[in-house]
């Protein structure tokens, strides 16, 4: 899993079967000091994350396993909200 900050959300009118009504979040990858560490991308939400949340997300086919069915065409899902991450300072 990797860390990111929720920057926003996406509304999609037309989606592949099984994705109807699912929350789609814009994530920005961050490093241990909360510095931006990559380009924004979109992930499904499995934990009730919202804008400003620091989250961990899982990529690849495993992303669907965090949702209620494993056969969805998603490759990124938020699987945890972080209270703290990084070097422990």
């Amino acid at each position: 899993m990797r860390a990111a900050v929720v920057a926003g959300a996406v509304v999609a009118a037309r989606v592949a079967a099984g994705l109807e009504g699912r929350k789609l979040l814009v994530l920005v990858p961050v490093d241990a000091e909360d510095g931006v560490a990559g380009t924004p991308f979109v992930a499904c939400d499995a934990v009730g994350a919202g804008p400003g949340s620091r989250v961990m997300w899982v990529g690849g086919k495993e992303a669907a396993l965090a949702l209620d069915r494993g056969d969805l065409p998603v490759d990124a899902t938020c699987v945890g909200i972080l209270e703290r991450h990084g070097g422990g300072r």
């Binding site: 926003g8 959300a9 996406v10 789609l24 814009v26 991308f41 086919k61 969805l72 065409p73």
Partner: protein, 100 residues
């Protein structure tokens, strides 16, 4: 999932049997505001996307998780058409209005 804009289509006659009947589109990476960011790739369209639309694509084995692409040699699929993108409480993209 990656954000991208549909910038073209691919026509291929000689191709793997598993790709028969699939619509192949050229997608360009874009930022949440819809501005192109360079890299382009080909993705199978599972939602009826059209030229100029902002879409989401899923990559890798996740791309095979649609009824259209199941068990086919595909590693990128368009699985959503984007209507609105909101960042920091502001709408940065709305379909039909293009990049700001």
């Amino acid at each position: 999932m990656k954000l991208g804009s549909v910038v073209g289509m691919v026509v291929s006659t000689v191709k793997d049997q598993g790709l028969q009947g699939l619509k192949l589109l050229v997608v360009e990476d874009c930022d949440p505001g819809g501005r192109g960011a360079g890299s382009r790739y080909v993705a199978v369209d599972a939602v009826g996307a059209g030229m100029g639309e902002m879409v989401l694509t899923a990559a890798g084995s996740s791309a095979r998780q649609t009824t259209l692409t199941a068990n086919r040699p595909v590693d990128s699929v368009i699985m959503a058409i984007v209507e609105i993108v909101e960042v920091a409480g502001e709408v940065v993209y709305r379909k039909g209005e293009g990049p700001e």
